[in-house]
């Protein structure tokens, strides 16, 4: 029997153990799935503030006079339109139009772009960007230089503000600022993966345990809790944010994934553009749509979806929604049938259970 490869650990691994977290293998990383319980952690983010260790996420930096040209060429969204200090959700595609990854592009300066990418895709992303670097830009794989914490929830700003002199209220949604948090250099981004107000901070790994504890102290008066990947998943699903390996992968294009808004076909040449253009002209065959269970059961990842008894698609993610108190999910259906309000059945462990397609996102915070 081959020995299981050692799991990678974040700088906060022993911190999580000390907090009694349940640790699981998440794409080769040993990560906390929960501390006190998914439902409680979920509600804490919706009503107060939660702290997540997302240091497994990868970082790739593109520098030099042609940094913008390369970033724009390998991504689907309009990176060239970003101002310094702005963040953009984007797709990194193969030539055939399927996802290499979904990423966040931060423009630090005209000659410096900072990409936050998924943990399990980071090496692949780096190779993809390098392979298309006909611009002579400098591409660095810098994941080891950053730990990342996500503070999410209506009290996230008040919590973090105690630890930094950067005026957080002045950072608009999907913008970032570089500054100091708890004495350490930090990139502070007004972004998140929960559908809630919040910040994601990139900090030096050796400082991570100390900053983690200081954030927990700063948020104590608001009822802050450490939160794991379990709650992160239910939160992002309510907000209908894609998860690589579920809603998107190499076989799925952004047009199918209901991510048309990150595809700027008219921006000029980019990797995957021709395939997307053909797909757009011909019309996509399948499309992502949200559903709600009507009958008893939860439609989980991989379950078959039927329409009038005929197999029609598959579930990409499904879970109880702690905020809505319903069982929700996302699925692929033939594009012509993927509108809200359609009666579908989801085969839950051999039994077709009634469900209905619905508008998304399932949850939108009050602003």
């Amino acid at each position: 029997m081959a020995a299981a490869p050692a799991l990678r650990a974040t700088p906060l691994n022993s911190t999580h153990r000390a907090l009694g977290a349940k640790l699981v293998d998440f794409g080769g990383w040993e990560m906390p799935v929960q501390y006190s319980g998914i439902l409680e952690e979920h509600q804490t983010v919706r009503t107060a503030v939660g702290l997540f260790d997302v240091s497994h996420m990868g970082e790739i930096e593109i520098r030099g006079p042609m940094a913008g040209a390369l970033t724009d060429f390998v991504t689907t969204n309009h990176a060239a339109r970003l101002s310094a200090g702005q963040v953009q959700y984007s797709g990194l595609l193969f030539e055939h139009g399927g996802f290499v990854d979904d990423i966040l592009v931060h423009k630090v300066a005209d000659d410096h772009y900072f990409l936050c990418v998924n943990a399990s895709n980071q090496e692949k992303d780096f190779e993809q960007i390098r392979a298309h670097n006909r611009f002579g830009a400098q591409v660095d794989f810098t994941s080891d230089r950053y730990a990342q914490l996500a503070l999410q929830g209506p009290k996230a700003r008040l919590t973090l503000q105690k630890l930094t002199s950067v005026d957080l209220a002045a950072i608009r949604y999907y913008w970032f600022a570089d500054g100091v948090v708890a004495g350490a250099p930090a990139r502070i981004a007004h972004t998140g993966y929960t559908g809630e107000e919040g910040f994601e901070i990139y900090i030096p790994p050796p400082d991570a345990p100390r900053i983690w504890n200081q954030v927990l102290q700063a948020g104590a008066e608001f009822g802050i809790r450490p939160c794991g990947l379990g709650a992160r998943n239910t939160l992002r699903l309510e907000a209908k944010m894609a998860l690589y390996g579920h809603e998107i992968d190499a076989s799925i294009s952004p047009l199918e994934a209901d991510l048309d808004w990150i595809v700027k076909l008219d921006k000029g040449e980019f990797v995957g553009r021709e395939a997307l253009q053909r797909q757009k002209q011909a019309g996509v065959r399948r499309r992502l749509v949200g559903f709600e269970m009507k009958g008893r059961g939860i439609g989980r990842d991989g379950y078959e979806v039927r329409i009038e008894g005929v197999p029609a698609g598959w579930v990409t993610s499904g879970s109880p929604s702690p905020t809505l108190n319903k069982n929700i999910g996302l699925c692929y259906l033939p594009a012509a049938l993927a509108q809200p309000g359609r009666a579908i059945q989801i085969v839950v462990r051999g039994q077709p259970v009634d469900a209905v397609t619905v508008e998304t996102p399932f949850y939108k915070r009050a602003r």
Binding site: I298, R300, P320, R349
Partner: protein, 127 residues
């Protein structure tokens, strides 16, 4: 934590026998591993089950898990409380949140099950 008058399976069920009826549940370790439980599916009254076969399922926020019958026999009682309050399985898995009662058809099967001490050693080693 793990009562001495229960017998346990490696699949994390327990059985407490009184006369010829066994009360079945899942262990505290099982509920901890599952996390917040949202559904419990149980067999119908009168169903016949055999040791090791699927008895039902428990679904948490993140996954579904089968429950296996620790003993063979006929289902003679179902804990109706769990249909409306599955979270009780997290709160009191060895008590109020028992799952079913089974009239044993083969009591010697109990010999194959683990004692409390053996079960605790087993879950200790599993970690």
């Amino acid at each position: 934590m793990y009562p001495d008058n229960f017998r346990y399976t490696k699949e994390h069920e327990w059985v407490r026998v009184e006369g010829d009826v066994g009360t079945i549940g899942i262990t505290d370790h099982a509920q901890q591993e599952l996390g917040d439980i949202v559904y419990v599916d149980l067999p119908k009254q009168g169903a016949r089950v055999t040791q090791g076969s699927t008895l039902g399922s428990v679904e948490s926020v993140k996954a579904v898990s089968d429950i296996y019958a620790p003993v063979s026999g006929e289902v003679v009682g179902i804990n109706a409380v769990l249909a409306d309050a599955p979270e009780k399985l997290n709160a009191d898995p060895h008590g109020e949140a028992w799952l079913v009662r089974i009239k044993l058809s083969a009591p010697p099967e109990l010999e194959k099950l683990l004692s409390a001490a053996d079960y605790q050693a087993y879950i200790g080693a599993e970690k």
